[in-house]
Symmetry: C2
Subunit: 149 residues, 2 copies
Amino acid sequence: MNTVEALKKTKKQLHESGFKLTPQREATLLVLLENEKDHLSAEEIYFFVKQKNADIGLATVYRTLEILTELKIVDKISFDDGVARYDLRKEGAKHFHHHLLCLECGNIEEIEEDLLGDVEEIVEKQFHFQVKDHRLTFHGVCQACQLKE
Amino acid sequence: MNTVEALKKTKKQLHESGFKLTPQREATLLVLLENEKDHLSAEEIYFFVKQKNADIGLATVYRTLEILTELKIVDKISFDDGVARYDLRKEGAKHFHHHLLCLECGNIEEIEEDLLGDVEEIVEKQFHFQVKDHRLTFHGVCQACQLKE
DNA sequence: GTAATTGCAAATTCTTTGCACGGTC
DNA sequence: GACCGTGCAAAGAATTTGCAATTAC
């Protein structure tokens, strides 16, 4: 799905929930689309949006991200460092992707494959918990840092 | 392992790293031990410790938790709500346990079993990532809330 | 037209830090 | 007596909120 389509789709989703697609929201979405692989904080998104559209306040970024999280267009995630990060939900992805956080260099890789199919089944059957989503992050050492040592 | 043993062991760990087991640290540990099943925030721990030992400051709680996290006696975790929570690491547990977060009632259950053995192997082999630890939380509906509906 | 949205600044919340004092070996 | 640890208050970082002005539909 390209950027224009993604924007259109999101606009529809916003309208269905009674929200408008303002220039600020559009710019925020564009930044998220252009940095899909990163895990930007609100502050970082604000910085990037400023470069596109001088007229935005940090509060608006927060408010936009709150709405997008509510509509499940983005996922809010924290890597235990005290900053919330926002990740665009992949089109068609049933579940949130996984992360590999390198303890040496701090880099975060993504894993798209759903590795939790079997585990979710166990959780549903054995623990009687109806799974809607998940957060899975591995802490360890990435390949680059392994080679460095 | 009972409370006295756990305290003794932690005392040893602290000493090995050049820290002392002060009354404040002991009280903090006791609170953590007594509330193993909960996922207390620093503020909550402070509140409980105050009931035991009037003389403690919130800053000390934070400082103690920082040390305990460093020594891997507790795990710091965030459930994306902007507050850090602290979980005592289970004795003998190779890995951090998993969580089931109910989106309806907010309750958090723990799963002790390590469900990620196979998944970790895939991550190590296929993604060349050396796994040291993980964070796995399922979002969904707990049994009690399913019955309510 | 009008209800939603915005920017700004102030307020809040969570966490860390500086520093003088107190306790320990 | 050196050093670690503490409480307190102040600082700092991240996020939210109140409000008057503005804008999208």
